[in-house]
Symmetry: C2
Subunit: 333 residues, 2 copies
């Protein structure tokens, strides 16, 4: 297991042509990452907003890569295709980022399969649907993997790679190699579960945070302050387990666990159920979020986020640590 | 509510003499933060390890402050007192960091109260005990607030300040001012709940992560990789709510919530109960943690952590954002 986790074990594969199907914020960020890594990308999305979204995201990505010192001289081309069939016609890999509904995914996969050559893999950006469920309607289900990224996709390296029951391990490995080839850190989720690894953790935090706002314990600003001035700074470099290993000190992880155990001994969380999502709770959160962040436009927030992320990645790279190692390896290639 | 959250609203108060009662890793880090901010500190801890722990933590803190460019020329003194009474005798503030048991806390508070002058506040580092419960045995319960920090206390700015039913709001404000005076970001937790804000979120993540290891879904390394190469990098600068505001894009937070709702529509998490903390699960986690981090000593991990944190704080300060603003304000004073 442990050997899987090291990025070095996956030999990156360079592709020249890819298709991106669905060009909202996630699809546009995939296309931007690919283009800036030398891949020619054909984009399929008939929404009138798609080209504008892509241009805006690409512009953010170019600024971030310049700031990161990544060469962007071997930039790939991009074109908006007239149909899914047109987009995938000569693609070596297809990334799908359409809305999270099984029927929509099924229709899109049927169009992709009609157009691609047989050995082309399809990565789905779904953050929750199981690959096996998506494979049910497919002619060649062995092609499908989940490749779940985190936004901004052009900067955050992680991608969760999950095979379904019809995905052979070779295809999981090949998808990992292709993602590594565009500078990512593919983490293979070996057991197929809803929401994979990251979104299960995020979901747990989201529900607990909703309870606190619902019960008037804290505002969105106060919750975010505790994160950004506290454990968020820890998790940018060491995860939950490594942080607690250090907290255990010389006594080690066993000592840490003997002190705290699974619930730290107390029924602290309210996660046994879910707060009712009343209009009042929605209003409260919207008002608090406006008070907290409304002085910045979304565009300003995106640029600030990217500047901070680039700065963190440079720090980690110079300290030869964590996500900085993924950046360094990619820079060397 | 919103005005409470801005650090600027609390006028920092400078103190000259403080007592630190309990000198494990947390107490030693409090003492280090105080000493490096010009406060003379008397430490009470009769454990034979206390002086060694303090020396090690202070040495880490000095390296971090040098790296951060904080002047350490107006360093306070420190001394190990022969008793709690000796430590608190001329203190203007007392920070308590003894083990998390109500009976131990009660005995320590009795000794502190016997020695201090009447208007001295006591901050408790407890991460879970309610201040009202701790006040029950006290002669002057109005003195007590919780001041819950995050390790490393000398670098992470956040401190959760919680009053009990006998704590007047003026004393909460005064404690906030004293913490701000040593460079911290005091977040007032207005409703007294177990585990306050941060540890409720951490507890939710901890339980979900234990389930994943227990069920063989992911190793400690894989879970940590998803955090450090993904959402951890986001939370070092924007919390849950601000991140989702950006994710909602131009549609805004209401649009984001209409898409996802409280459970994102699916029973994803396993948090309805707690994994049984069997010896097998403990063994699994210890083995996986050793495979993940065993090549580094705890001392090395601490130094790496601090170097990364200092780098992040500098990035945030130069971008005038988040925890960087707390650093900048403190540097100006």
């Amino acid at each position: 297991m442990a050997d899987e986790a090291a990025a070095g074990d996956i030999e990156p594969e360079t592709i020249e042509r890819a298709a991106v199907v669905g060009c909202g914020v996630i699809g546009a960020a995939w296309a931007s990452r690919m283009v800036l890594n030398g891949v020619d990308v054909a984009i399929s999305d008939l929404s009138p907003d798609a080209e504008r979204i892509f241009d805006e995201v690409l512009s953010n990505a170019v600024a971030a890569y310049d700031d990161l010192g990544f060469a962007t001289d071997r930039r790939g081309s991009h074109r908006f295709a007239s149909s899914i069939a047109d987009a995938v016609t000569d693609a070596q890999f297809v990334q799908e980022s359409v809305p999270e509904r099984l029927d929509i995914k099924a229709a899109v996969f049927a169009e992709i399969e009609a157009g691609v050559v047989p050995d082309v893999l399809i990565g789905s950006s779904t953050s929750g649907l199981r690959p096996s469920a998506m494979q049910e309607s497919m002619t060649h289900p062995e092609r499908l993997v989940v490749g779940h990224p985190y936004n901004p996709v052009y900067l955050l390296p992680v991608v969760e790679v999950v095979g379904g029951e019809h995905t052979p391990i070779e295809n999981v490995r090949r998808a990992q190699a292709i993602y590594a080839g565009i500078g990512m850190k593919p983490v293979h989720v070996r057991v197929e579960i809803d929401a994979f690894i990251g979104d299960r953790l995020l979901e747990a935090v989201w529900r607990e945070a909703l309870w606190m706002v619902n019960d008037g314990v804290a505002t969105t600003q106060e919750i975010d302050d505790v994160m950004t001035h506290g454990f968020g700074l820890r998790w940018a470099q060491m995860g939950l387990f490594e942080t607690y290993r250090v907290a255990g000190g010389l006594g080690g992880f066993r000592h840490f666990m003997s002190q705290f155990g699974p619930t730290l001994g107390l029924p602290w969380t309210k996660l046994m159920d879910t707060p009712e999502f009343t209009p009042e709770l929605v209003d409260t959160i919207v008002e608090q979020s406006d008070a907290q962040s409304g002085m910045h436009s979304i565009r300003e927030l995106e640029r600030t986020r990217d500047r901070n992320l680039v700065g963190f990645l440079k720090v980690l790279e110079s300290n030869e640590w964590g996500a900085g190692n993924t950046i360094a390896e990619h820079r060397r290639r």
